[in-house]
């Protein structure tokens, strides 16, 4: 009853001083809005990344060169993974179904006046099924193309549009870093995936990529597909032994390469998300702190403005605790309203995000509860000092206040 009328009156005075209230609540609104939005963003990015990693297939292992450097100081990537390593792995480990060597780079792709900076992928025909790419038009390059170092290219759907518009790309010639390549196929679109767009790339035989475009003799990655999931551990074991031997590593030396399976990639993705969430938490705490100070400031003003009212309330029987409670409730009503507006803006931002990107951002009940809970906690915490000042006012002094 008392609580109810206090809330009612607090809401009425919030409304009566709309502009001031909004300004006071701004920090809370931004803080809570940011929490809601970023949490939904993180969840969406996580779901998306999981989806992508899972879509790669469960039987996948990725061999990468190790980090160079000693004593924890990383100074770039080793250049020790070779096409021979890849061949040896395939030849010696029967559990491997197939594998694809990968060389990466960036190229300037050119066709007539059209120009596009895009990523280059040098690999073999096995790469496509391992990474579940399908051909939309034309054909993929094959082992013969690799052996013969044919200058043929398979391009992503976006690259095709960038270079050819609505024209037919197959059997046309494009220049990759000024070297002529014949386009033999276009891939089916997979959809933009945030920081990497699989539809915007040019794939060529790895032999050509190494010798003629990137100019290296090492690989960036070897993608291995197992016959079945149960073989992954065996492959990992045997591949490690084989590569150590091939790289002439002593007993006491660490691996100069790494082999990761899907579970580990999921873990990496998850830790990236945790960093994001922590960052969001940091931003949110700062805005909630600023918001709390805003609330405290306006509550101090309110207490001063309403000194006389406090005197009257005490005259008619309010105890110190009653006054304390009243102003605490008002602070919580204010910060809670700010929190509610913040939640709404978080919803709107998440909806906009889902509309303009491929991410499916949705706001979880947990983050709403978190946002509201925190904003109300901020009200209690930062409202306490003004409220206790109000409670301690001397009734006579308060009644005499002009």
């Amino acid at each position: 009853m008392m609580l109810w009328i206090t809330i009612k009156v607090a809401l009425r005075s919030l409304w009566a001083n709309r502009m001031r209230s909004i300004l006071a609540m701004l920090g809370i609104i931004i803080g809570v809005g940011a929490v809601i939005f970023v949490l939904s963003l993180v969840a969406a990015a996580k779901a998306d990344m999981m989806g992508r990693i899972t879509a790669m297939g469960t039987n996948l292992l990725v061999v990468s060169p190790g980090q160079r450097g000693t004593g924890g100081v990383m100074s770039g990537t080793q250049q020790n993974l070779t096409a021979d390593d890849a061949e040896a792995l395939l030849a010696k480990i029967p559990q491997i179904r197939d594998l694809a060597p990968v060389v990466r780079g960036n190229v300037q792709a050119k066709r007539l006046a059209k120009n596009s900076r895009t990523s280059l992928m040098g690999t073999t025909v096995t790469y496509f099924p391992i990474r579940s790419f399908e051909v939309e038009k034309g054909r993929l390059f094959n082992d013969a193309d690799c052996d013969a170092m044919s200058r043929v290219a398979v391009i992503g759907a976006t690259t095709a549009t960038n270079l050819f518009g609505t024209e037919e790309p197959c059997n046309q010639v494009i220049k990759l870093n000024s070297i002529n390549f014949r386009v033999i196929g276009v891939l089916k679109s997979k959809g933009d995936q945030g920081w990497f767009n699989p539809d915007d790339q040019v794939l060529v035989p790895y032999t050509v990529a190494m010798k003629q475009i990137v100019g290296v003799d090492h690989l960036n990655e070897i993608d291995i597909r197992a016959n079945n999931e149960a073989d992954l551990d065996t492959i990992m074991d045997r591949a490690t032994k084989l590569l150590r031997k091939r790289h002439h590593l002593q007993e006491d030396q660490d691996n100069d390469f790494s082999i990761r399976n899907q579970a580990e990639m999921l873990k990496t993705a998850d830790s990236m998300n945790q960093v994001l969430a922590l960052l969001a938490g940091g931003i949110a705490s700062i805005s909630l702190l600023v918001g709390g100070i805003g609330i405290m400031n306006i509550m101090l003003v309110t207490v001063t403005e309403r000194t006389r009212e406090i005197g009257v309330r005490k005259a008619i029987g309010a105890k110190n605790g009653d006054i304390l409670r009243q102003f605490l409730i008002e602070a919580v009503v204010m910060s809670g309203s700010g929190g509610a507006i913040g939640v709404l803006s978080g919803f709107v931002l998440a909806a906009i995000l889902s509309r303009v990107t491929s991410l499916q951002a949705s706001v979880s009940l947990f983050s709403v509860a978190l946002g509201l809970g925190f904003s109300m906690g901020v009200g209690v915490f930062f409202g306490f000092y003004p409220a206790s000042r109000a409670a301690r006012l001397d009734p006579i002094e308060a009644l005499r206040y002009e």
């Binding site: 008619i316 029987g317 309010a318 009644l399």
Partner: protein, 231 residues
């Protein structure tokens, strides 16, 4: 009912000590309607605040209904004010953004009597004849109506004593007279009423008066004296 002896209250003002009350003794019996009169600055409000348990005297003794209130804690005094005393102020002091009825309910809510609050508040509004304005906010009411609401708020807990500080000071004389008539009705019901005023015409509505000058009880001079004291 009220027994105060040698009350002293002093204020420091710019290095000077102002003795707002300088040894005031008052005895007020239950059921009296009494005026505390005197020129501005004579200590009337200070006395009323002490009698109303809003303030404590520096020296002297004060017993209210047999209880020595000099040494009570702030919260205990709040309880006494809530239960035994109703205040009526010159400037009404109604709380904004609350309807008349909500204002009147408030003392009962502070008393923890949530269930009776609504009914008692309506009854108090009936007593001051303002039931048609119950759901208006103070700024939608005239001065006289506001003072009626504040009287309703003062009587809603059914206190023994009503303390009014210049209750007609902000009203025109006709409305002021109506308010004094209302006090007389309440007094006829047995309530003790203390009206603080500088105005002889207001004091004339009371049964007797205590005259203050410079913080002491005094005799009014010939020009200050009431022409006739109402019986």
């Amino acid at each position: 009912m009220i027994h105060a002896q040698d009350l002293v209250k002093a204020y420091e003002l710019g290095g000077q000590t102002v003795r707002a009350l300088d040894g005031v003794s008052v005895d007020i019996a239950a059921g009296e309607m009494i005026a505390i009169r005197g020129p501005s600055g004579s200590g009337k409000t200070t006395l009323m605040n002490i009698l109303g348990c809003l303030d404590r005297a520096d020296a002297g003794s004060y017993t209210l209904a047999g209880e020595d209130v000099a040494r009570l804690s702030g919260d205990r005094l709040a309880e006494i004010r809530n239960r035994y005393i109703g205040f009526v102020f010159q400037t009404f002091n109604l709380l904004p953004r609350m309807t008349a009825l909500e204002n009147v309910e408030l003392p009962l809510l502070y008393a923890g009597k949530h269930r009776e609050a609504r009914q008692a508040a309506i009854k108090a509004m009936e007593t001051v004849a303002l039931t048609d304005r119950m759901h208006h906010q103070p700024n939608q009411l005239s001065g006289g109506q506001r003072q009626r609401v504040s009287i309703a708020r003062a009587i809603v807990t059914n206190p023994a004593i009503l303390l009014a500080d210049e209750p007609t000071g902000a009203l025109d004389s006709r409305t002021g007279t109506e308010i004094m008539q209302l006090f007389k009705h309440l007094n006829a019901d047995g309530r003790t009423i203390i009206v603080v005023t500088h105005d002889p015409t207001v004091a004339r509505h009371c049964q007797r008066e205590i005259y203050l000058r410079d913080g002491r009880v005094a005799q009014p001079s010939a020009t200050e004296a009431l022409q006739e004291v109402a019986p």
